[in-house]
Symmetry: C2
Subunit: 218 residues, 2 copies
Amino acid sequence: MRIAELSRRTGVPIPTIKYYMREGLLPQGERTGPNQARYGEEHVRRLRLARALVEVGGLPVASAREALALIFSSGVSEFDVLGKAQYALTPPRERAGDGAGDDAGDEAAAQVDELIARRGWQVKPGNPARRTLADALATLRRLGEDDYLDLLETYAETAEQLADTEVRAISRRGDLHSMAEAVVIWTALGDPVIASLRRLAQEARAARLLGGTAEDTS
Amino acid sequence: MRIAELSRRTGVPIPTIKYYMREGLLPQGERTGPNQARYGEEHVRRLRLARALVEVGGLPVASAREALALIFSSGVSEFDVLGKAQYALTPPRERAGDGAGDDAGDEAAAQVDELIARRGWQVKPGNPARRTLADALATLRRLGEDDYLDLLETYAETAEQLADTEVRAISRRGDLHSMAEAVVIWTALGDPVIASLRRLAQEARAARLLGGTAEDTS
């Protein structure tokens, strides 16, 4: 199909398609003339995925490129590709508090190590989520939000429940390609799904606990 | 204190402080001369909070400004300010799939309504998280990820657990100011905390279920 048809099929504007090709999220089409190229079904699939990661998942373009390259590659062992795809979806955050001249960063890193050990999680030292978590905990410490420590265990427990359901669902898929795709989609789109469900549930819970409206039946 | 001292105390560089003041995240200091201003403890507190929201929570500057203005205001009823602060922390996402020419968007919006009704959640029609969730679900539908429906109930249950713990912790705080501050901090920083814990737990779960290492004792 031509680029106009690719755009129509996916709802992605042509300038965005060209931008994704320049940035390496989407391979070039097959040249059929000086100003023409042909695109196939893999382009449709990959374009939808690229857009989902960037626009809905909120990923930086570099992270999306890395994740897409892994999905559409082959030749790595199973666990390897799944782990790499997941790491690609944890973009490094800016370091808040660098130069703050306190111990909150070191304390938070130690707290993350302790949490992982306490829960018996096997997690490689290179998992970038360790750092993301430590940064957030250090920030909370600097803000004097110390009662978050109680919540952290609840958060870790719910994270385990989510991970268990997700990993089981993914392991039921037959082939490695489909599993890697699920890791990428679910990791990236699960973030806004969870964040929005949490906000909806917070409002519902607050309405009962703090609002005390007429509809309250709890 | 002078701006240099404000920078030293918080670890925030002076150009960033000036940027935050221009963008309305931080009020100007008290003028003490043509090129000098004085800052107080409220500036220290508010600057730390602004940076946490933008750099660790990943909020757009406009959302952070709105949330900070609510925290440092008064004169609204309790539930009111907490709800408004929470809404400010759900930045509107770009619409993926506008013009995709399918029914996935409408179907997803209906699915969100059904989910909220099924769980008995009292949620106002204006809660922006409805839209964020519907966008993510529509994207998943377009990608052919239909087994996410099974996961959605698990996600909703864990969201309820998180919300219950969070709302209880916040309600234990004595004053409205402190409660509003906790809503803002916990909503914004809870996102990276949960996202990173989920990734760590996924790796741990996958190591057991798929990796089968020697340390596996499950």
